[in-house]
Amino acid sequence: MSIAQQPMPRTGSRRRVMSRKARRTAWFYAFITPWLLGFVFLWIVPLTLGFLTSLTNYDGLNLPDLKFVGLNNYARAFTDEDALWSFGQTLKWTALNLPAWMVLSFILALILNQGVKGLGFFRTAYYLPSVVPTVALVWIWKIILDRNAGLLNAVISVFSPGTAIAWLTSYALQGLTVIAVWSGLGWGMVVFLAGLQGIPDELLEAARIDGASTLQIFRYVTIPLMTPVIFFVLVNGLIGSFQQFVVPQLLASIGGGAAAGFTQVPPRPVYLSMNHVNRQIFNFQRFGYGTAMLWLLFIVVAALTVVVFKTSRFWVYTEAKEK
């Protein structure tokens, strides 16, 4: 032992360095063990089993009857009229909700960034709806948009008596958008406002001295510098929109007594993809078909996200690019 150490003291010190590194590695993995276990057992295992399920006729109960059906479940989604309808509605809803929500939050952030008095008050007030949990959110809007007892029809009736517009069925897509914008406005506004406040004053001042008009400053300074924030909000909103199903489901089943689960079907205009998936699984126990549609939906969302990421280099401003 002493012979090995004596001729080369450097090895000893290197070994001590190594052991420090090994110790640090051990600590690191000890710290992340809970997450690693969670990652394996709550993500990898279910996802693998979920994928295998999608290749079978699993009904949640009988393993003896389990049959391998290949890609049949996937093929079925393309001939299932309800699946296609719900996907179409999901696209429409995303196309309606995303721009409305982003533009309105952006405008509000712009106004609040003008140095208005009472910034704190407005910011808090606008964020408040984001605090309201979904079930309460749906109740709040149900008593406004309801055909008979709702506030909106009542107010319109003051000017045009007898108005009874079915906001929650015939106009459910627009109704859902209003609900979503109301509840999401605060979050979008806070994020955009933080982005706007991060724009250096010198840049705006320099543009002003160079004689740029307010509109020009907005177009050529504010917008480019805000693109990373817009990108972040866009990706978040896109993923969120495609996963929407709780509000449509609750619009159908809220207040339904014991049947407030999945037995009621959301109004046709807001029968979204995830509503269709949940119905297959929790109403009809079609686990194979349901998980297959989940994967298809996931592919669509992932593809859209990738498209946004890939095109981002054409429109998202990064400092590195300018240098």
Binding site: L42, V131, V135, W182, A194, P228, Q243
Partner: protein, 291 residues
């Protein structure tokens, strides 16, 4: 002459400013109204008698405010304390566990940059932040139901123990700003990394702890879908109770009392929001933008 034109210009500019700011405040006030009217309408309707709610044409205000609606919310036959207790238990258990495991992870990813495998694992965290949760919810349900732990509270415990990529990221961002010297000094003094985490980092992470707690608590408290698929009417949460609504002994829905229950249900979250407002609004921003 020159002085006069300057004064005129100044006045013109300021009058333009006045128009502009009137316009700004006009819009801000309008939006404030649009935001608050639904909430005020909820409060008003929660004070109506059920017959006043159903009447056509609508009656805007209750003749006599029905304060007993709020008493009815807590009437023993509705078991609100049991449901609220379940919500509270699940929210606190899940959030506290998740904060512990995630802050450990966040500490590891922020202070052990040189460890082999760290970078690859961190990109997994980033990927998990973006992957839509829709792909995991139902497969997890399938696994848990085969394990026979649906209809129990174990899933919430397991989700907590399994940490969350989002909170890991949040804690990591916060811990990154801690000076390296702090850690070195403690190490020289013979502190092991766990003690550094427990006695130095965690006590100094109050803003993130508050944000994570409020976000986690609100998430579980407000969650309707998970208890609906996992639990039964016997052991379910307040969210589900309010969605199923309050009913008369004959089984008819009483909307107005349910709305009063809604107010009671939202209240803890509003209080928490006001208490932690500064941190939350900052948290919304940092967790997203400084990536």
């Amino acid at each position: 002459m020159a002085v006069r034109t300057l004064a005129v210009r100044k006045r013109r500019v300021s009058s333009r400013k006045v128009v502009q700011s009137t316009f700004s405040y006009g819009i801000l006030t309008l939006v404030t109204l649009l935001i608050t009217v639904p909430i005020i309408w909820l409060l008003i309707t929660s004070l109506k008698a059920q017959t006043e709610y159903n009447v056509w044409p609508i009656q805007f205000l209750p003749k006599v405010p029905q304060w007993q609606n709020y008493a009815e919310v807590f009437a023993s036959r509705h078991h609100i304390f049991r449901y609220a207790g379940n919500s509270l238990f699940l929210a606190v258990t899940n959030t506290v566990l998740s904060i512990i495991t995630s802050s450990l992870g966040g500490f590891a990813f922020s202070r052990f940059q040189d460890v082999p495998g760290r970078n690859r694992l961190f990109s997994v965290i980033i990927a998990l932040l973006i992957i839509p949760t829709l792909v995991t919810v139902i497969p997890q349900f399938i696994v848990f139901s085969r394990l026979g732990i649906t209809n129990t509270y174990w899933p919430w415990v397991l989700w907590g123990l399994g940490a969350s990529a989002y909170y890991i990221f949040m804690f990591r961002q916060f811990f990154l700003a801690f000076p390296k010297e702090l850690e070195d000094a403690a190490e020289v003094d013979g502190c092991n990394p766990f003690r550094i985490y427990w006695q130095i980092f965690l006590p100094n992470a109050k803003p993130v702890l508050a944000t994570a707690f409020i976000q986690g608590f609100s998430g579980v408290w407000g969650d309707w879908f998970t208890p609906v698929i996992y639990l039964t009417s016997k052991n379910t949460t307040l969210a589900v109770k309010i969605a199923t609504a309050y009913v008369t002994p004959q089984g008819n829905t009483i909307v107005t009392v349910t709305l009063a229950a809604c107010v009671v249900y939202i209240l803890p979250l509003i209080v928490m929001f006001f208490l932690g407002q500064q941190h939350i609004l900052k948290g919304v921003v940092t967790s997203g933008l400084k990536g």
